[in-house]
């Protein structure tokens, strides 16, 4: 009897594993598509049906980082022989790397867009989480007049789809000279994430017994010291979870970035699809840019994974 049941359980177990594998594969398919395209030769990128087996190439990444122009005539023997390996890859694709008058290789727009993304996303995340934590602490620990109304108001800033306000925001930004600046995007993303951060952090801070800080107050610590010594370490898990959410939102934001920035402060999301190469869109370059773009969020989430696992189970913080 027992053996029969064990066998049954084993079958169910196997079925579960197989179905999880299948589901995972379905979800990972787009990622695989992007990742594989990023290493394909250009002529295989758009074949129908998609090419599964191919020799991976590094050339899309070379093209991603360099400024190129169409070759009118094939390069001469000497030119080809003198070029470094990566420049030859560009020659092979029928293009040439653009050099300045003094022969320096010109970079494409991608590295600076990537930096812009990092600057804007990191700064706005730090600001949103920092201000959100302080605000949430205030709401959680003090009797605030009209607390419910204020909290609802804070949340209500998220109720409108952001695109609705994009045009007025654009006009206002242009009037005050904030468009196409890092500061402009940082302010925008911070404001956007703040409501979310306040609400999440309030939940986490509510879970921390106020007795901990009160004990510190009685022991001769100031409210500030109690906050930094007691509340912050206890809230680390919540801060990590909130930071990941805010970072992902800011990192992936497309609509505002598209409207508000075009060169100096442009972030990667609006830039990548505009990366059509010289001539027809080069999907391999777009794919390699996208692949690199995925990394920061993946790394950030991975680094904070221990906090996240505990933090996501809202309210289940160990006491």
């Amino acid at each position: 009897m027992a053996a029969v049941r064990t066998n049954g359980e084993r079958t169910i177990n196997r079925l579960a594993i197989v179905s999880v594998l299948i589901i995972t594969m379905i979800f990972l398919a787009p990622i695989y598509w992007i990742a594989s395209t990023a290493f394909k030769p250009r002529n295989l990128a758009t074949t129908i049906p998609p090419t599964i087996v191919f020799t991976p190439e590094i050339s899309p990444f070379v093209k991603l980082f360099t400024k190129r122009s169409q070759l009118r005539a094939p390069p001469s023997q000497e030119e080809y022989a003198a070029a470094p390996w990566w420049e030859r890859l560009v020659f092979d694709g029928g293009e040439k790397v653009v050099r300045s008058g003094r022969g320096e290789v010109q970079l494409s727009g991608y590295p600076s867009r990537f930096m812009n993304s990092l600057i804007v996303a990191i700064t706005s995340t730090v600001l949103a989480v920092g201000m959100g934590t302080f605000t949430a602490y205030g709401f959680s620990r003090f009797r605030v007049k009209g607390e419910q109304d204020l909290l609802f108001f804070i949340l209500s800033t998220r109720m409108l789809p952001p695109v609705v306000v994009a045009i007025p925001m654009f006009l206002m930004y242009r009037a005050v000279g904030l468009n196409d600046t890092h500061l402009g995007l940082i302010i925008l993303y911070t404001a956007f994430n703040l409501s979310f951060s306040v609400w999440l952090m309030k939940g986490f801070i509510d879970e921390i017994p106020k007795e901990y800080e009160e004990a510190a107050l009685v022991d001769g610590y100031t409210r500030m010291q109690a906050f930094f010594k007691i509340v912050l370490p206890e809230a680390a898990t919540g801060i990590a979870a909130t930071a990941v959410f805010c970072f992902i939102t800011a990192w992936n934001e497309y609509a505002f970035a598209l409207i508000m920035t075009n060169r100096r402060a442009q972030t990667a999301p609006p830039f990548i699809p505009s990366q059509v190469g010289s001539g027809l869109p080069d999907w391999t370059v777009i794919a390699s840019g996208t692949l690199l773009f995925l990394l920061p969020v993946a790394i950030f989430t991975f680094l904070l994974r221990n906090h996240l696992l505990r933090g996501m189970s809202f309210g289940a913080i160990r006491k």
Partner: protein
């Protein structure tokens, strides 16, 4: 060392009034117990003394100085709670050091270590010093909490039901230790509990709180023997004092239940006045020639004593008798009471008429 006084303290939480015009005097070095049921305002009183709550009106006086406006750090009190007094992230040593590292103390590392070690020894927690707090048992945690309080040598100790989450044996042990600690330190202790046994066994003085009002303050024996009203009378003693309604007739008590007449030594009011007579279970005596007959409704065995529940025409009362007494359930017995121990209460407002 300090004495503490609350003068006319009222504390409201929105529409709730937690403390109403509370006056309290706690002498230097006293072990003062605040006794009250849940919601009586015990915790709020402690928090007002600690400076964690500002009263809506009234004053907090510490050592003769008006401390109402002082914040918690300036009051030099220590707080022990039922739980959450310890930081889960720190070790036992970290927790004991924490109060000493605040800016109000200027101690060297060596001094801190010395103090922590001495406190750990006093409380027999030396072997726990390097453990994480979350790995401790409830009893160990409370020992550490007490240690955290005494390491600072504060003027006043405030304890909010520090023992009520522990099991009975541990509670007894820590009760004795706390009393010992109190006599060694000579500091003022304010100890909150809803457990009357704890209050009676530990307090130099007991203050009984009810719905935000201080009903009576006195030594345990005063509270027990001369309760100011029926509320206090029933707050202390197990089982609680029996209260029987009746009238005064010819200098004796004529009970409503069964129409029995029992003698009393002190009488208040005119012949025929309605009374609520109070008698403690241990002053009810089984006696074959007693004036009242009742049926034994229930018997509880407590080792050296038995607690009987007697039924007189549907009115129940308790009697404490020696374990040797032979009774059976449903047996009809006769009993009397010790006339000198009978208290008379006003049936309307419950006041003890003996106290005038």
């Amino acid at each position: 060392m300090a004495d503490i006084a609350l003068q006319g303290v009222t504390k409201k939480f929105g529409p709730n009034i937690a403390l109403r015009d509370l006056d309290l005097d706690i002498k230097d070095g006293e072990f003062f117990v605040l006794l009250g049921q849940t919601g009586a305002g015990k915790t709020t009183t402690l928090r007002v003394i600690a400076g964690l709550e500002k009263p809506n009106s009234g004053k907090v006086i510490i050592d003769g100085q008006d401390a109402t406006g002082w914040n918690a750090a300036e009051r030099d009190v220590a707080l022990v709670l039922q739980q959450y007094s310890l930081y889960p992230r720190l070790t036992v040593r970290g927790n004991l050091e924490f109060p000493l590292k605040s800016r109000t103390h200027n101690l060297t590392t060596a001094e801190i270590k010395d103090r922590v070690d001495r406190v750990a020894e006093t409380l027999q927690i030396t072997r726990l010093l390097d453990r994480k707090v979350e790995r401790l048992s409830g009893g160990e945690m409370q020992r550490v909490s007490i240690g955290r309080a005494i390491v600072r040598k504060p003027r006043v100790f405030l304890m909010d039901e520090p023992l009520s989450a522990l099991d009975a044996n541990l509670r007894d042990v820590l009760r004795v230790e706390l009393k010992k600690l109190h006599s060694e330190l000579g500091a003022t202790f304010v100890f909150v509990t809803h457990d009357q046994v704890e209050a009676m066994s530990m307090g130099d003085k007991i203050g009984v709180l009810n719905q935000g009002r201080l009903v009576q303050v006195g030594t345990p024996s005063e509270i027990y023997a001369r309760p100011i009203n029926t509320f206090v009378a029933r707050s202390v003693g197990t089982p609680p004092m029996n209260l029987l309604d009746g009238v005064l007739r010819g200098g004796a008590a004529l009970l409503d239940a069964g129409g029995f007449t029992l003698p009393v030594t002190r009488t208040h009011g005119a012949d025929g006045a309605r009374m609520r007579f109070g008698i403690r279970p241990e002053d009810v005596v089984l006696d074959d020639n007693g004036p009242v007959s009742a049926r034994v409704f229930d018997i509880e065995n407590h080792g050296v004593i038995k607690i009987l529940t007697l039924d007189i025409d549907g009115t129940h009362l308790h009697a404490t008798v020696s374990a040797q007494t032979k009774v059976r359930i449903d047996e009809v017995v006769r009993f009397g009471w010790r006339p000198g121990k009978v208290l008379s209460f006003d049936p309307g407002n419950g006041r003890n008429l003996d106290l005038g």
